[in-house]
């Protein structure tokens, strides 16, 4: 069009070029970044281990406060017995089902409440009432209503997940810039097109942030749910070990929760960034 546009395009071409040298530099940068991250994680783990060891020595009671070595030995025993893996898998199954259902319900309800004032006005009082009742307060009623099996435990995780995702999704819809919707209207969009092509993608980062926070809630709730009327799971491991004063097993259960939770969070972030990268651009 004009010389200025050509100049701008030429600058962009120059910036975009570089070939193999540029690719090599990018790979090196990535490798350095990963190495640095692993190093930082290792330093943090070593610091926690050292502090733990110092506290356990000072406490001077391997039964009440076992050190890292005793806990690691117990972890090996539990793994050899096959108990730790089994408990992790049982808890993970409950978390995955509860988190998936809770996220789906929360996201759909939040998007609906964010998009419709009528729906928001109808359901806001209920949401604001129930979200202040902790999942643990429902343990007894969940057992009465859903029995001692999986349903009661999963229902508690759904409850712990749904409100965080719902609120975050609703806020996400409200955060979509009005000019994005106005621009779509100018370009001939119907209400349905606006929802699926503007509101939903615009709110997606908020939905994902809510899900990430809800994942933490799900991990916390599964322990409470498994402490009562369970025969397996990390919460059961922790609660059952308490009765036999097996503090080392309790520590193993807590460590397993932390490690599995950390891995689940990293996996969630990785999948979100890989599959939905473009939605983090706005």
């Amino acid at each position: 069009m004009t010389s200025s546009s050509d100049a701008m395009a030429a600058t962009a071409r120059a910036a975009g070029s570089g070939g193999p040298a540029r690719t090599r530099a990018a790979v090196l940068k990535r490798v350095r970044g990963t190495a640095s991250l692993v190093l930082r994680y290792a330093v943090a783990a070593a610091a926690i281990g050292l502090a733990w060891e110092l506290f356990s020595v000072r406490f001077d009671s391997p039964v009440l406060f076992p050190g890292p070595a005793k806990t690691a030995a117990r972890a090996v025993e539990l793994i050899e017995e096959g108990r730790l893996q089994a408990d992790i898998l049982v808890s993970l199954r409950r978390i995955v089902i509860g988190f998936a259902v809770g996220s789906l319900v929360g996201a759909l309800a939040g998007l609906a409440m964010g998009s419709s004032r009528l729906i928001a006005d109808l359901f806001r009082p209920l949401v604001n009432f129930f979200r202040f009742i902790a999942p643990t307060a429902w343990i007894a009623t969940a057992m009465v209503w859903f029995g001692l099996g999986e349903a009661s435990k999963i229902s508690l995780i759904i409850y712990a997940t749904v409100f965080v995702v719902l609120l975050s999704s609703m806020i996400g819809v409200g955060a979509v810039a009005p000019n994005k919707i106005r621009a779509a209207r100018c370009l001939g969009a119907t209400d349905r097109q606006i929802f699926f092509l503007v509101t939903l993608p615009g709110a997606l980062t908020y939905v994902l942030t809510g899900m990430r926070m809800a994942l933490m809630n799900a991990f916390m709730t599964v322990v409470a749910a498994e402490m009562i009327a369970a025969e397996a799971g990390l919460g059961f491991l922790i609660y059952n070990s308490r009765q036999w004063m097996e503090t080392d097993s309790i520590f193993v259960g807590m460590l397993a929760l932390g490690i599995v939770g950390l891995m689940a969070d990293r996996l969630f972030v990785l999948v979100s960034r890989t599959l939905l990268r473009r939605f983090s651009f706005h």
């Binding site: 069009m1 004009t2 050509d6 000019n179 994005k180 621009a183 100018c186 092509l197």
Partner: protein, 265 residues
Amino acid sequence: MAGSYIDFSQVDFRYDAGLGPPNWILKGLDLGIDRGEFYVLLGPSGCGKTTALNLLAGFEHVHGGSLAVGGRPVTAPGVDRVVIFQGDDSLYGWLTAQENVEFGLKLAGVPAADRRRKAQQQLDFVGLGKQGHKFPSQLSGGMKQRIQIARALVCESPILLMDEPFAALDAQTRAILQDELTTIQQRTASTVLFITHDIGEAIILADRVGIMRSGPGSALKEEIEIALPRPRRRGDPAFGALYDRIHAILSEEVTRVLRREQASQ
């Protein structure tokens, strides 16, 4: 004005303020814009320029009088009147520049290959032919405004509504885009309603400048034909004379606003 392509006739518009009296933004606005005309609206802050544009876009509805385009009343937003907004928040950050330009065609159900070709033509037209794969966050402010312009042009919208589109840009980029917009408007023969606070920008772009009174209950105070040949340069003595004339009219209104604000404190 009856007979004009865009016709604001005795238009009233208010915002209701709870239990208090209504806040009249426009009262008896008469404004006519001819087909293919580049019309720039100037006025003090809060005088209702953007409200007039929003009414024409179909985002708001008149409370009195009538507003029509080509003889048909404006009742809703439409692809015949595409708005180019200030800033970049109307672009879809999760879509590439190319996909943003294609957006209106996608809504209309145009096949993918056709819309890619048409969007590429418009990207070439606005000088961004090689930037289509980038996301808006990877483009400069000027490039983002060009994407908005391309998005409007690809829909072959006969009317462009521009609400201070260059206000957030640096002076150099603004000058470049003003030249480019003049070229685009002349090539496409679009009818443009352009809002700005910058008198120089108004003289560079406009066929006609409308100056609004200060509110509340604003309307058009005066219109000035800009008969200077293009391209227009700020150093031109005729440019300076027009600038002084518009500045004097506008200053009266701005002073009135300031006095009213001081009196209410």
